[in-house]
């Protein structure tokens, strides 16, 4: 069986971009919430847009904005961002049948705009036999441009409403994570890690008030216990 070579064409980029358009509406609330939150913690609109452009990581930005101080705790926000985005380190390798065939900016630029949704779309395109790797960049650019635009709109909305601290509008950021948890639930295997994460993070938050180690401590303890459990089960001779 001969496999068609991987290409990277403007046509592929365009097709990826267009395939995303119906999904952009579903993503709009996240950018809006991020913009409202940025305004709420006292960032300027220029800073809000810059952050959206260079970080382009919704969950990490929402968590960091929730722990934002003046000046920001550089170690805490960097570490939180790193841990939250660690999942992406395993996403790139899945696309290696495409990426391994590309050089230079086509690889590293495509990876810059790789987010959860467009990664999933690209994996399914690849598995359907798609050989035009420009698809990843096209889908990524669609989400990136929407992310930057909705962040700016959210900032303007926040400036118009001027919600005070404790305003229910800020609950939207937390609601995003509740929704994502509901989507991530995979069944009984998640009970143990999630309970451990809940207990450890709550205990650390109580022991070290005003710091943000609780997020890291909860995530690492829960996933290490569950990972070791799964690993030992798989290793067991049957």
């Amino acid at each position: 069986m001969t496999v068609e070579p991987v290409t990277f064409t403007a046509k592929g980029v365009r097709r990826g971009y267009i395939d995303c358009l119906p999904l952009l509406l579903a993503m709009a609330p996240f950018g809006l919430i991020c913009g409202v939150l940025s305004q709420g913690v006292g960032l300027s609109i220029g800073e809000t847009v810059l952050m959206a452009m260079i970080v382009f990581a919704g969950s990490a930005q929402l968590v960091c904005l929730n722990i934002w101080t003046h000046p920001p705790d550089l170690l805490a926000v960097t570490l939180a961002t790193f841990v939250i985005n660690l999942r992406m380190a395993l996403m790139g390798p899945v696309l290696s049948p495409w990426l391994d065939q590309l050089r230079g900016w086509r690889v590293w630029g495509s990876l810059f705009v790789m987010a959860d949704q467009n990664w999933a779309m690209s994996v399914s395109e690849m598995n359907k036999g798609g050989r035009d790797a420009g698809y990843l960049l096209g889908t990524g650019l669609a989400f990136w441009s929407m992310w930057v635009a909705t962040s700016a709109v959210g900032f303007v909305l926040g400036a118009a409403v001027k919600p005070t601290p404790g305003h229910p509008l800020f609950f939207a950021a937390l609601a995003v994570f509740v929704v994502m948890l509901a989507q991530m639930w995979r069944g009984r295997a998640d009970i143990l890690p999630w309970v451990i994460a809940a207990l450890v993070s709550s205990a650390v938050a109580w022991l070290l008030p005003g710091t943000f180690w609780f997020i890291v401590a909860g995530a690492i303890s829960g996933s290490v216990v569950a990972g070791v459990r799964d690993h030992m089960r798989d290793e067991k001779p049957t």
Binding site: L90, V107, H167, G227
Partner: protein, 100 residues
Amino acid sequence: MTFDPWNIAAFVLMALATYACRGGGYWLFRQIKPSPLIRAIMKYIPGTLFVSFVVPSLIQGGLQPMVGAAGTLAVMLATRNMALSIAGGVAAAWAVWLLK
């Protein structure tokens, strides 16, 4: 439009941390294959991380976010629609806020 140097520094560090995962992960795992244990652990990171963010925030926030979270979850289970669930949760939190 102001740009605070500390904020810019934080954005740049966040961007680097993100790209270390996006690009660095692909680069690293092209050199070495991640062990099955590392893979098994990383599979659980997104879920435990969000739990670790949400649960302490609910405990600290009290009634308003707790009712909001319950509202979000209820709409999510009923409709499976993300935008609708967030709106429902905010509405529930808003109701508590108005009653106070």
